[in-house]
């Protein structure tokens, strides 16, 4: 499973402060530590209250790619921010994200194809987040069809069925698992699936436990990628063990260590 490290996000205090003071070392340290912990890609988000999202995003991308060559997920709802970041991004890029809304898709998917970037596509549109798996799958079909028409290689497309916090939208956890299974049947080969794992426990108690169990459930349903905290060692070990039990990797006594090599 592709681990996309979530920590470089302006909503975290340390990142917010580092952005304010333009302290590159803090960001670069977070990037390195996430990769060492097993992240194969890094999400980059300027945070919700940035005064200059375009400038900050460019700065973040530039300093992160000094210390690591892993793919970078440019996490912003603002097309200008995404475009600006793609201009300076030397690593492989993942656009995070588009929705299934026509105008957004028509802007971002051709851009991804042009820049040879991957893209995360949320199964929601102008009507909002769908209430069940079938409606999410319908939007996924819309996304896959349009991406195919634009010539996007299917391996660059990640469908995100949007997990919601289990304390406010409890049935959604099950619907998302069902959607992951359905997306696998959409085409041959099918698009990949991704979730923003920490959303499932937003505002709850025992966040790490909820994240850990949900990740395993999602992996069993066929999840390909997750935006998550790779420095949560229990979470990483659960993921590695789940993959082992699904026969994705060959067992050896040091199976936990082997993953990070």
């Amino acid at each position: 499973m592709l681990v996309i490290g979530e920590r470089i996000n302006g909503m975290f205090d340390d990142v917010k402060a580092a952005i304010k003071e333009r302290k590159a070392s803090v960001i670069q340290d977070l990037a390195k530590r996430q990769v060492e912990s097993g992240a194969s890609a890094l999400d980059v988000n300027v945070g919700p209250s940035s005064a200059d999202p375009q400038g900050v995003m460019k700065w973040l991308i530039e300093i992160i790619q000094e210390v690591t060559s892993v793919p970078l997920a440019i996490d912003s709802p603002n097309v200008k921010v995404v475009k600006g970041a793609l201009e300076v991004c030397k690593n492989e890029a993942i656009i995070n994200s588009t929705t299934a809304q026509k105008e957004k898709m028509e802007t971002l998917i051709p851009l991804a194809v042009e820049k040879k970037a991957s893209i995360i596509a949320l199964t929601m549109d102008e009507k909002g987040i769908p209430r069940d798996a079938d409606l999410r799958a319908e939007l996924a079909v819309r996304i896959v069809t349009y991406a195919g028409e634009c010539g996007m290689p299917i391996e660059n497309l990640y469908i995100d069925p949007i997990i919601l916090p289990c304390n406010v939208a409890q049935p959604q956890a099950g619907h998302v698992l069902e959607t992951i299974k359905q997306v696998k049947l959409l085409s041959d080969p099918p698009p990949k699936t991704v979730i923003g794992l920490s959303n499932v426990s937003q505002g709850t108690k025992d966040r790490e436990l909820i994240n850990r169990i949900y990740l395993i459930m999602a992996i069993t349903a066929g999840l390909d990628a997750a935006i998550m905290d790779p420095m949560d060692n229990d979470l990483m070990e659960a993921m590695i063990t789940a993959e082992l039990l699904l026969n994705k990797n060959i067992y050896c006594d040091s199976f936990l260590k082997a993953y990070r090599k």
Binding site: N249, I250, Y251, C252, D253, S254, K257, A258, K261
Partner: protein, 318 residues
């Protein structure tokens, strides 16, 4: 109706391992051997690249063999008592690209030769021939730890392949390979989980992954060959989908396994001409191991070596 074949696209490749170092590289070899680098299953050229063909190493013992059948020994009768001459003959007469020197004389029950004597043999052979060397212990772990350390030192800089390291006895040899710049043979007993574990243990000590060659144990035809085959196939598949701890080239010890079975030795005429039988047994086992993914084959009989080399040349034609 034309049939469209489904082609696999693998995401990872087998490591490239180099054996032998020329003068420019700090050694004294006049030729080197490079194995590995495949991005697909054996000989499937339509699905990927196979930049380096499998290589045959001819086995030389540092003591006259006591249990080789006449049909095998007759090829080396004139040199069996002199490993230097034996190695020279393999290179000059049989065109060997790689020599596997087994330090059998150091085994406590085969003469218990000292590590100094073994190191001197290694030095003499390195002086006499220009092809790279595989150095093999006698199989007695305690003695091998001393002997191989000394021989590794004697061959420092020549980038040999030295073996074998096993799960319960790998540290001493890994230290030597690290210190003296050699590659290591990592052995496991027909167990893919242990194979992966041994590689991790060796790598944890600092030896780069591209200096490890995998030996999953070889069985002769009729004596477990297919077990080795399935381990090798699983290992290659795991490597091609991204398992870096199994992405090593594979070595098969053909000669030692084939020539101890009765089918290779028995003079019983009902089993066919014994002069051909052993050769065919070794050839068939070797070719099967090629299809399973062997990158290095250690072989004995010159006729079998010739047949298998011709087969490799033919298989490598795209």
């Amino acid at each position: 109706m034309a049939l469209t074949l489904v082609k696999e696209k693998w995401t990872n490749k087998i490591n490239i391992v180099k054996i032998g170092a020329t003068k420019e590289e700090g050694g004294t070899r006049t030729s080197t051997v490079t194995v590995g680098g495949e991005t697909t299953l054996p000989f499937l050229f339509d699905e990927g690249d196979i930049p380096n063909p499998p290589v045959i190493a001819m086995e030389v013992l540092d003591i006259a063999p006591t249990d080789w059948p006449e049909t095998l020994l007759e090829n080396f009768k004139d040199v069996a008592n002199d490993p230097v001459k034996w190695a020279e003959k393999c290179v000059s007469k049989y065109n060997a690209k790689l020599i596997a020197l087994r330090l059998q004389s150091t085994h406590p029950e085969s003469g218990d030769a000292s590590s100094e004597e073994a190191a001197n043999t290694v030095k003499s052979i390195l002086k006499a021939i220009g092809v790279p060397l595989i150095l093999l212990g006698s199989g007695n772990h305690e003695k091998d730890n001393i002997v191989l350390a000394k021989c590794s030192e004697a061959a420092k800089g020549e980038k040999c392949l030295i073996g074998n390291a096993v799960e319960k006895n790998y540290k001493t040899l890994t230290v030597s390979c690290l210190a003296d710049g050699h590659n290591i043979v990592a052995e496991s007993p027909i167990d893919i989980n242990i194979a992966k574990q041994v590689n991790i243990l060796i790598h944890d000590m600092g030896l780069p992954l591209d200096r490890i060659v995998l030996y999953p144990t070889t069985g002769a035809l009729g004596y477990g060959m297919e077990y080795a085959y399935s381990i090798m196939e699983r290992s290659k598949l795991a490597a091609l989908v991204g398992d870096k701890m199994l992405s090593m080239p594979i070595i098969a010890f053909i000669g030692q396994e084939v020539w101890r079975v009765k089918e290779s030795k028995s003079p019983d005429p009902a089993w066919g001409d014994e002069r051909e039988r052993g050769v065919l047994w070794e050839t068939t086992t070797a070719i099967s191991m090629l299809h399973a993914g062997a990158d290095i084959l250690i072989m004995r009989h010159p006729k079998a070596v010739k047949s298998v080399q011709e087969t490799i040349d033919e298989l490598m034609k795209k």
